[in-house]
Subunit: 256 residues, 3 copies
């Protein structure tokens, strides 16, 4: 049976997520619902995009990913369904699906009101537009029924790392995870790491290690995270607190 | 397959929710479990009732809603199973199901011990009474097997809005959601809103808008929320923090 | 269909849990995923073991419990699959499964790389080793295919209560739950409680009651919790805050 995953900033306390689940299960009985997260910080589209990039690629081909981080709900921002070779993404056209734009094979605006609940609340498109669209797709409805092609889906500005005059790469912290690990946008192939790379952050210079266990308990270390990017961590501790650093902080990578 | 939803104040860290899920899946293999929330503030029955009112109506007919917000567990308060034309609710008889009392077609006390786990812990009826009852209902057990009819289920006192001498309606904030939006008990038909209604709260007078996007970023606005009640919000901000207001605060609605 | 439960310290905001779910559903289509918790405090193996002990025994026979609280990921600590007569546990060999060690009928090291994803990230064995192993088991793969028997699985040091010269039992608070209830390691058979036992904690002497409802609202009380151990609670309040007590605090049980 088709899988629909859910990624939102609705939190887990209010009834919004439950309403969305109910709408989907009413239109697509037997679909498998999977929570990715409902704890995206309120209206933090970039955070939501990062979580999707970490989780969506591991799901079976054909999975539908419903995502709602939507500060512009009710405005002129479009809704969309974006299809790649391996998944379909449904949600607002505000950059939330930036990690997958390059792989798209189709992208439809959600203009066909026959695919929506009625009436559509101007403040809750998650329940009234995105959930029913995802459910209809799960039931086999073709993408073409949703609306016209979008050729210019919104993309988040991404600051790619750039080369400094001294030969280092300048990147930034793009995500702080629950453990206080600082995830950067600096890619490094873990297989090749032989302590020949260093990370500069908040006045510290850290050799890139293979794993958390290569650091002493309580010591700062840098390593290549599970997605292939440099992270700064404290073994059995919290690097974000230790360094007083958050998303957006500059990081430099020095390869010897 | 039958759906059982879960709404509790158990939080997500402890093992209580897992125990309930295990009991249900042991008695009703193949049932579809759906988390609505486990983050109702501890023992806040009114909050739980509000979440149920926001989510339950969207589920398929025949869904069973198990809800446990139960400060009186182990006391003389009854357990009940309340049936409407479209759903069955199982939990403590403490007002948690107030939003659905008017629609009930049957309401049974959970006195038949053959429908419970044994022994019943006096502190965990969620695991030992409500979960097995929900599972037995999902397996097709008739409501009549649970116990005798309850004719006087508990109801939360609801302060209905009242008309003031100046013609305004006086209501209150009944819920503060994750975004800091203030949900009131003042109903207004969104379709008819043409900036001819104003909300008075915490010294502010706010025209009722159609959607969040009608406000400037950072500005206070009032609108009709997805459930048909007036809400006060800040676009890309937090109205509860801005106004220093929480559940119970008075709100006035002025229609011109 | 086989059930796989998930118990982690990954939190609910990041994409880690979603990645694990995706890996499982890709390898074991149709498996039933059940979240027990993802809110174990970061790297708190003892807390994770307690949650598992509270929830796992209630699941149907044959359930697979995947648990990841893994401060030593990437180090020499082993991964394991531990089987009892009623369940299989998959995760790091760091004491997380201590409550079930006595009941094990088999325990395998996860050394067979054919059962893992490739490449294995040194920082995310949950996604690359434990999830695929759990999925393969759910698909009927025999335990013997995972790796050699482990005869010395890690166990958490447990401070058993000890008898004091004055005849009391000295135990400790092992868990503080969401309600601020203090769960101890002092067992007492609830059926036999007739107000003939007293608990001493933080300078208070409390008679053991049958249920929360036996205390006045706001008053401290002791009772036998749903797992058979003495708990200290405040009816409609928070005992941990009231007493300024947390996990590890000494508690004495006096039986008359």
């Amino acid at each position: 049976m088709t899988i629909i995953t859910l990624t939102t900033d609705f939190g887990s306390a209010d009834g919004y997520v439950g309403a969305i689940k109910g709408v989907i299960l009413s239109l697509a009985p037997g679909v498998t619902l999977v929570d990715i997260t409902h704890a995206v910080p309120p209206q933090d589209v970039r955070f939501g995009a990062h979580v999707l990039s970490m989780a969506a690629p591991y799901f079976p081909a054909g999975t539908i990913h419903l995502a709602v981080v939507d500060p512009g709900v009710g405005s002129a921002r479009r809704g969309l369904a974006l299809r790649t070779a391996w998944a379909t993404f449904v949600g607002p056209d505000n950059g939330l699906f930036t990690p997958f734009l390059d792989q798209r094979v189709a992208c439809k605006a959600l203009t066909n009101a026959a695919m929506h609940r009625r009436p559509v609340s101007p403040t809750f498109h998650g329940r009234d537009i995105f959930a029913p669209v995802a459910a209809h797709l799960a039931m086999g409805r073709p993408l073409a029924d949703l609306g016209p092609e979008i050729t210019d889906p919104s993309s988040l500005l991404a600051e790619a790392p750039r080369r400094l005059p001294n030969g280092r790469w300048l990147g930034e912290v793009i995500h702080v995870d629950r453990f206080g690990n600082l995830v950067t946008n600096l890619a490094l192939t873990g297989a090749n790491v032989k302590q020949t790379a260093y990370v500069h952050i908040a006045g510290e210079r850290l050799a890139v290690q293979r794993t958390y266990a290569d650091g002493a308990p309580g010591a700062l270390l840098a390593l290549v995270g599970s997605a292939g990017y440099v992270e700064i961590a404290v073994r059995e501790g919290n690097a974000a607190e230790r360094l007083g650093v958050r998303a957006g902080a500059p990081v430099e990578l020095e390869e010897l």
